[in-house]
Symmetry: C2
Subunit: 455 residues, 2 copies
């Protein structure tokens, strides 16, 4: 195979070095051991096509690799696959100011695109803690969401066109940045969120937004979870929110300890909400805050007086995931309908206290989107495999609860390797059968990210 790869890639763009295999064959999950047979670094669409055709001819598997910030093992190469890194395809190919469309190669970092937009007085609104290293191709493959979905939607909403290579090695040029195009099945939307199992995203036309007005940030302390939902309702009457996040006091404790940050409020509260909104809505926000205080939905609050203070408040939320990493968290990423959230959380909390009495549990997430990140922390006395196995035994109970609410067992982290055996809790047998059919249609020889997503 190495010889065959050498017909496509020069020596400096193929590696079999053990450290490289480990680096490019892993993502941020810790449960898997990377074991690819090689990593290649294409620079052109033609090279990607040649690679996929070779994989079909020689029957080897490909694993796409972006910023490898995924949390479900979607970019892990465990079984001798060839990893396709998009690190060398990180150029912005064009910009159309009239349409606010950027043509990116798949390896452009989210942060680089954000900076590109900002330099032009525009805004790329998809943002999350890993935006510095995550890549557009990976964002598309997982339909990345993050912290401003409540206002700006998901990656899907900003992709006006994409170029992909199917598992059969065919090039699809989807939609070309058109606003309206009613000419049959929309493969762009099918590829978005398909986790590299149907094809490799090589280029994308990304739409940019007008820049937001100056923003203000509030952190509010709440005594109960269902109060959070009332707070959301109170603010949504009259304030267009750019973010509505939440974290529990235990999550706050971790990020404060890791970064040596002061508490946002004088007295601790069990739950906190972080709100971001246009400065022009400050009066309406203040009125909503007063109403929340009167009804005791909120115990206390702080409003950013400067961008620097806003950034410090955001750090309390955005630093959580990183600050939990040393505790080897078992991550759940759940969503239910917003109106089901209080009941669901109550039931989930009861289940978890009973199933994990000895474990510390951190809740946080994008509560304005109905999205909860539930992190179970490994006690220092437990080995990682032992801890993971125990959590894995509890997961079906939790996912059963999610299914009762017709929720999602993976709101924004994707399915990958980590959750594929649980897919049936969010998708019916008929849907899984159709997914298999689609996979066969796009990738008849099964070379594209095998064993991911579909159980």
């Amino acid at each position: 195979m190495t010889e065959a790869l050498a017909t496509i890639f020069p020596p400096n763009r193929i590696t079999r070095d053990a450290e490289d295999l480990d680096h490019w064959g892993s993502d941020r999950t810790t449960a898997y051991r990377a074991a690819p047979s090689a990593v290649v670094f294409p620079e052109t669409l033609d090279e990607v096509v040649a690679l996929v055709r070779l994989a079909n001819a020689r029957a080897f598997a490909l694993v796409p690799s972006g910023g490898r910030t995924g949390l479900s093992g979607g970019a892990v190469a465990e079984r001798g696959e060839v990893v396709v890194s998009f690190d060398r395809m990180n150029r912005i190919l064009g910009f159309d100011p009239a349409e606010r469309l950027v043509r990116c190669q798949a390896g452009v970092a989210t942060g680089a695109l954000q900076a590109f937009a900002e330099e032009r007085g525009l805004f790329y609104p998809v943002d999350f803690a890993a935006s510095g290293s995550s890549q557009i191709g990976g964002n598309i493959a997982t339909n990345a969401g993050g912290i401003r979905v409540i206002r700006y939607g998901l990656t899907r909403d900003w992709i006006a066109g994409l170029t992909a290579v199917t598992g059969a090695g065919d090039v699809l040029r989807c939609n070309n940045g058109l606003v309206k195009n009613a000419t049959g099945y929309d493969f762009r939307h099918l590829l978005i969120g398909s986790e590299g199992t149907l094809g490799l995203v090589v280029e994308a036309d990304v739409r940019l937004a007008n820049p937001p007005q100056p923003q203000r940030v509030m952190v509010l302390g709440c005594s109960a979870f269902d109060a959070l939902m009332h707070v959301l309702g109170a603010f949504q009457q009259g304030v267009t929110l750019s973010a509505f996040e939440f974290f529990s006091d235990s999550a706050l404790a971790k990020v404060r300890a890791a970064r040596d940050l002061p508490p946002p409020l004088r007295d601790a509260c069990p739950f906190y909400a972080l709100l971001e909104f246009d400065e022009s809505a400050l009066d309406a926000a203040s009125r909503a805050f007063e109403r929340c205080l009167e009804r005791s939905w909120v115990a206390d609050g702080v409003l950013s007086q400067s961008d620097a203070q806003a950034a410090r408040l955001w750090a309390l939320r955005e630093g959580i995931s990183e600050s939990l990493a040393p505790h080897t968290p078992y991550k759940n990423d759940l969503s239910v309908r917003l109106s089901d959230m209080p009941k669901f959380l109550e039931a989930a909390d009861a289940l978890i206290s009973q199933a994990y009495p000895e474990f510390e549990v951190c809740w946080y997430g994008h509560i304005g989107d109905g999205n909860l990140h539930l992190n179970i922390l490994k006690p220092s006395g437990w080995s990682e495999p032992e801890f993971r196995a125990h959590c894995h035994r509890v997961s079906p109970e939790l996912f059963k609860l999610v299914a009762e609410y017709s929720g999602s067992i993976s709101a924004e982290h994707g399915v990958g390797l980590l959750k594929r055996e649980f897919l049936g809790y969010s998708r019916s047998p008929e849907e899984v059968a159709l997914m298999r059919g689609l996979k066969r249609t796009f990738d008849p020889n099964g070379v594209m990210n095998p064993r991911k997503l579909i159980p």
Copy 2:
């Protein structure tokens, strides 16, 4: 077959009456003769499932029928199919105010949903001339767009969940109104725009928007088409447009004659733009107008001073399609990237004047979305088949031009029967092959709206 249908539907919900067959077997295209074998009116999801299973068992074809306002023959039953009318599934099943989600049956009229939203102080923003009779199921099947896409997007952007019956008779419950759900291929987005060829949409969770601020309408007269694009650019700096439409003077003449309306401006101009925007942006809009006057992009303009006047200005644009109907127009519905629009229009205009020297041509459309409706009017001396055959001979030349710009041969009308032989101008052979594969996966026996969309 009638006996078999009678096992599912009572006599008052099956008809074989000739007039009924003609009515429910047609849409707004005039090129086809309706010839279904029966029309049925399901009232429940279970009846739809039983019908699709029967169609598979007895090998008869189904044609979904919504408001039948389509312009591409997507809802025409030409060959003894059974028409599935959703007229009896027109109930709103539930409303979640916290999430602003309405659960609708497929047969709810667009206008009824708009009215439902308005009664609750909310807004369903997808709107077009046929919204009074078009149905949500049909909107989903064609991913309907219309007049406010520039601000609010397409039907796709408002569908948070849908329930469909596949061609195999399986029920898919897609997404349940979740904001975030990263659990594999998104069948909701695949079904949207699939023109009933994969399955029947039975219910949908539709998201509502906050109501817009009071709106103002401007009609501007332009001497040249490319000036329109400059006008768009000038207004987009500082004014959030709710609509940016255009029509040619010949289109205006038709609607004025049909409805006996006064001209919007003192002197006629070759092209007109209709803009709608928030009243709060009036100062910015006035400045943009001044700038356009100074640069001679605009010759004159009128600003609505009341809602009634705004409605009268809108009538000049929204009445066009209806006023052209007596002229048996041959309709094209094209889109290109906005920045390609001036060059494309110039080339298209040259081609058309040369190909149709004896025909009157009316241009209008959603120019802010890159979407042109090009209507060729039948001269009174020509028979309809003769006229249509001539236009059909010219279409490939026009579509070739669209393809050179990687545009769409059907921006929002769908493909149906009318354009399926031309699909290759917007979709590659590889894409068409994948479409066939998907069709087989969802509809193995080919019972769902056969002969539509896919050539």
